[in-house]
């Protein structure tokens, strides 16, 4: 019986395996022959679209989100149960991942938000708005509990990451900048109505859905394999929503702690976090330095606007190149190339364009308009990047003195992996 109880630990993983197998069976049943292209006068039957989910179900998703966030907060902050968080992860993976097929998703809602902010014609659906804001509100209240077990992308990585390979600190710092760039570009592309970059390159949606491109399935599977050793690679080095969670969590009212009581500075938890999100306490000798020497770092504050301005100029200059992600710009360039170099139209977009009867002047005018929008938006994305990088570096030049080991509120995923490393226990 005792042995069976110990085996409980593995039940979530068995359930995960069953979920994947069940999903594969569903996939096999859904496999279809692609639509043939008849050359005769055969008329295709009209498409039958499934009815959209009713609004009630969308609000049900919101209710599930709030419920899962509440439970995750309770488990991380109050109950301090790593096993409980694993169960929440499994539930979220099953519900938001496999059942809802990765949509609606807080990570992708960043794009809806930016599209709504910069385009008057787009009305953001309320559920999408709630999915964007609620996890951020919870981050303000209790840290990144969304990442801990509610986000399906985080959950699938959390459940598969159990070896621990430390990434060198300097490399970690460089890689950790990527999500900022990704967020800046994703917002820019969505605001210019060019592309929903985050959804397009969501690595796990290929596993959640049964009809995703194979490349996405391969990317997702390989990322999971990497994640066994370098845990949560997507969350750490790509997730754009994680950037917002990181910022909001720094100001959280409450946050998960490594120790349930007073830290003994035993250093046992130092290696407990695979994400390197535990902040070491300062040696006693350093604690005696009372002054934080802010004054010495003040001149470096000037570097922040310099970085912001430089990034703004850089992205402004890159705007025409970046606008190439827009389908209309891409098409206009293709058509121009065809004309100037006499290359025959081959792409489907180009053939469709010729069939549509649109004039070139319309297309080229639209291209210029889109580039203009990129020119307007790119400097703002640059300012965001410059400020993020500048503030990040400046923060490191004015280090706080710490007396305890504590989680880095920005980078900690509130996953509770560190709990077992702390020898301090509370007697009930």
């Amino acid at each position: 019986m005792k042995k069976l109880k110990k085996f409980n630990k593995y039940i979530p993983y068995i359930v995960l395996g069953l979920l994947l197998i069940w999903h594969s069976v569903l996939y096999a049943q859904e496999q279809r022959f692609p639509r043939p292209e008849f050359e005769g006068d055969y008329t295709f039957p009209t498409h039958q679209f499934l009815n959209q989910r009713g609004p009630m179900w969308e609000y049900m998703d919101v209710a599930v989100l709030i419920g899962a966030l509440t439970v995750a907060s309770w488990l991380a902050l109050k109950k301090r149960s790593r096993q409980g968080l694993i169960w929440v992860s499994l539930f979220s993976l099953a519900y938001f991942g496999f059942y809802r097929q990765g949509c609606i998703c807080a990570v992708g809602s960043v794009q809806n938000m930016s599209l709504a902010l910069f385009n008057e014609s787009y009305a953001m659906p309320l559920p999408a708005l709630l999915f964007f804001t609620i996890p951020l509100l919870f981050a303000l209240l209790s840290g990144r509990v969304f990442c801990a077990g509610v986000c399906p992308l985080g959950a699938i990585q959390e459940l598969t990451g159990f070896r621990k390979v430390r990434v060198p600190k300097n490399l970690e710092r460089v890689l950790a900048m990527i999500p900022f760039v990704y967020l800046g570009l994703a917002v820019l592309f969505a605001a210019t109505e060019s592309q929903f970059l985050i959804c397009r390159y969501d690595p796990f949606v290929g596993i959640f859905r049964i009809d995703a491109p194979y490349t996405m399935i391969i990317f997702g599977a390989l990322l999971l394999l990497v994640g066994i050793f370098v845990n949560r690679p997507y969350c750490r080095y790509l997730c754009p929503y994680g950037v917002l969670q990181n910022i909001f969590s720094r100001f959280s009212v409450k946050h998960l702690t490594i120790t349930p009581a007073e830290c003994r500075n035993c250093r046992l938890c130092e290696s407990g976090c695979p994400y390197d999100a535990i902040l070491q306490s300062d040696p006693v000798k350093d604690r005696e330095i009372a002054e934080k020497k802010w004054k010495g770092s003040l001149p470096y504050l000037l570097m922040i606007p310099v970085l912001a301005a430089a990034f703004a100029v850089l992205l402004y200059n890159l705007a025409p190149a970046l606008s190439g992600v827009n389908d209309n710009v891409k098409l206009a360039r293709e058509i121009r190339l065809e004309k100037e170099q006499g290359i025959k139209a081959v792409s489907k977009a180009s053939v469709a364009y010729y069939e549509s009867g649109r004039t070139e002047s319309e297309l080229f005018e639209q291209e210029q308009q889109i580039i203009g929008r990129f020119r307007k938006g790119a400097p703002w994305a640059g300012i965001f990047l410059g400020l993020s990088l500048g503030i990040g570096f400046f923060r490191l030049t004015v280090r706080d003195i710490r007396t305890d080991y504590e989680p880095d509120r920005g980078r900690c995923y509130s996953c509770g992996k560190c709990f077992k490393f702390c020898p301090v226990k509370i007697n009930n």
Partner: protein, 564 residues
């Protein structure tokens, strides 16, 4: 925490390793399959192309047809098998990954948490110094990048509308090339010399009235019905007609309208007496005859091709096979350097072929691809190279009129294609209803320059000079497009539909509607309606121009319009 024996952990490790290797192998295999799928089009395989080419050369062979079907099926099966493999592989990949993950988890969970100490936190002073250095380096690096990018990343994008500039260069070069020479006496083919819709001469009458006889020099009843247009050589005018099981060629004196002789389109050995099913409105005499100095050739709806001299003596005749075409056989013929050029469009065969003008022997035949059309070939010269253009479906294709070799093929239009192409000195224009008008830069490196679907022709062929393209539609609108940019320069609703092709002559566009009213407008970018003259008889035939006289074939009569 579950504890496993060392032996168990070793087994788990091995299973995990095998699953890992399996996953990697599957991933690599899938990547190769993906690359294959992305680069291979099942319908472009050399084997399929080869049997298709054999079938095109021998379209009656049932064995080859069966072979094409078999290879086609095999190619599709192979393609979809690859797809199935990739799709299944992706889930094998996942299964391998799951096993790998689970056993790694068992191995990882069997031990106690590894507790290792981190090196001491670096001292405050050195950490601060290092981070300040990073801050300055990053600011400097990004600033340098920003400055460099300001110089390097200049936008190479042209302003809107530059697209047409690129063609001016090509256009100029092409404009220098010789176009087909125009005569003000001879009007040898459908739509005139080269079948381009451009007639020579000047001083043609712009006003007449058929019912009142104003400027009608003569009017002759043509014995049998025909939708073909008159062709002229010297003083003689030729037409064809069909009815009551007879196919006829008429030679008229162009000055008096007298029928000089009538010859038969069936009076030769091997002639087909058959009248294939076709649109009754069209009949068997839709294709216009072609005439040269000493011969007149005509083709009829049953594939009978005949050639007479100017005195009505049969030179030769042959049947090309009865074309199966729901709208009837309609393609007019051309003569180029003693070769009769025939565009053959039937369900049984698509081709363009050249027959010796003197003997009728087949000199060459080139199979065509695509779907059957009802257009006619056009003779043009680009870059000094004579070429026959066919408004095919879906491509406009150019052939060497001497050897029949395909010179180039560019995307054109799709649908029920009746109009032929229009050409000017540097471009080719095609169009059809429910599709669009498309302008092409001809040649092997040619391309689509522009397209527009606002005004599209139903039957009438477009006609162009270097500045303007004129399109007469089946719903009564006439539009003038800028040939370079595709912008609509003007349009006008003339109320009646147009089947006769417009002709540019004497700097005017001659637009004959189905009621028989000729609308004459200036052949330039400003709409100026010069006149509208009624014939008093319905007509679908394209007019002919010769020596200040206009010849119009109505449903029953042929009219000569002259100011004298």
């Amino acid at each position: 925490m579950m504890n496993f024996s060392e032996k168990e952990i070793r087994i788990f490790n091995r299973i995990s390793l095998v699953a890992g290797i399996f996953t990697v192998v599957i991933a690599i295999t899938m990547l190769f399959s993906l690359l294959q799928l992305m680069t291979i089009n099942p319908l472009d395989t050399p084997a399929l192309q080869s049997v298709k080419a054999q079938f095109d050369n021998n379209p009656d062979s049932k064995e080859l047809a069966e072979q094409v079907r078999a290879v086609d099926l095999m190619s599709r099966k192979a393609y979809f098998s690859s797809r199935w493999q990739v799709e299944t592989g992706s889930y094998l990949l996942l299964a391998g990954a799951v096993i790998f993950v689970l056993f790694q988890r068992l191995v990882a969970g069997s031990g106690k948490p590894a507790r290792s100490l981190q090196p001491d936190r670096p001292d405050i002073a050195s950490e601060k110094t290092r981070n300040r250095k990073y801050l300055i380096i990053s600011a400097a690096a990004v600033t340098v990048l920003a400055i460099v990018s300001s110089f390097v990343l200049r936008s190479g994008l042209p302003a809107p509308g530059r697209a047409s500039v690129g063609d001016e260069r090509t256009g100029q070069k092409l404009a220098e090339s010789a176009s087909v020479e125009l005569s003000d006496v001879n009007y040898p083919f459908f739509r005139g010399e080269g079948s381009r819709g451009i007639a020579g001469g000047e001083g043609y009458p712009t006003e007449w009235n058929g019912p009142e006889g104003k400027n009608i020099k003569w009017k002759t009843r043509i014995p049998k019905m025909g939708k073909n247009s008159p062709v002229i050589w010297g003083e003689k005018l030729f037409l064809t007609g069909a009815g009551d099981g007879k196919l006829e060629i008429y030679c008229l004196d162009k000055n008096t309208g007298e029928i000089l002789w009538t010859s038969s389109g069936t009076d030769f050995p091997g002639a087909s007496p058959e009248e294939p099913e076709s649109d009754p409105e069209a009949g068997m005499a839709v294709p216009t005859a072609a005439v040269t100095e000493n011969a007149v050739c005509a083709i009829f709806g049953n594939g009978n091709l005949v050639c007479y001299d100017h005195d009505g003596k049969l030179k030769w005749g042959k049947n090309l096979g009865v074309p199966e075409n729901i709208y009837g056989f309609t393609s007019s013929i051309l003569i180029y350097k003693k070769v009769v050029l025939v565009q053959y469009d039937g369900q049984n065969k698509f081709s363009i072929s050249g027959y010796d003008l003197e003997t009728g022997d087949l000199k060459w035949e080139t199979p065509r691809s695509g779907r059957l059309v009802n257009s006619s070939p056009v003779l043009a010269i680009f870059d000094g190279e004579p070429q026959v253009l066919i408004n095919g479906n879906p491509n406009v294709t150019s052939y060497d009129p001497v050897s029949g070799k395909e010179l180039w093929s560019l995307p054109g239009v799709s649908g029920d294609i009746a109009p032929s192409v229009g050409v000017n000195s540097k471009m080719v224009f095609t169009g059809v209803d429910y599709y669009s008008v498309v302008a092409l830069k001809p040649g092997k490196n040619g391309s689509v320059i522009w397209s527009d679907n606002t005004f599209t022709p139903e039957v009438a062929s477009p006609v162009a000079n270097d500045e303007c393209l004129f399109v007469a539609t089946g719903y009564g609108d006439v539009a003038c497009y800028n040939t370079e940019t595709g912008d609509t320069l003007w349009s006008h609703y003339f109320k009646e539909s147009f089947y006769a092709s417009p002709i540019i002559c004497d700097n005017k566009v001659w637009l004959l509607d189905r009621l028989g009213t000729m609308h004459i407008v200036d052949a330039n970018s400003k709409l100026n309606i010069i006149s509208s003259s009624p014939l008093g008889e319905h007509t679908d035939c394209t007019p002919a121009f010769s020596e200040k006289q206009i010849f119009i074939r109505g449903r029953e009569n042929l009219y000569c319009i002259s100011a004298n």
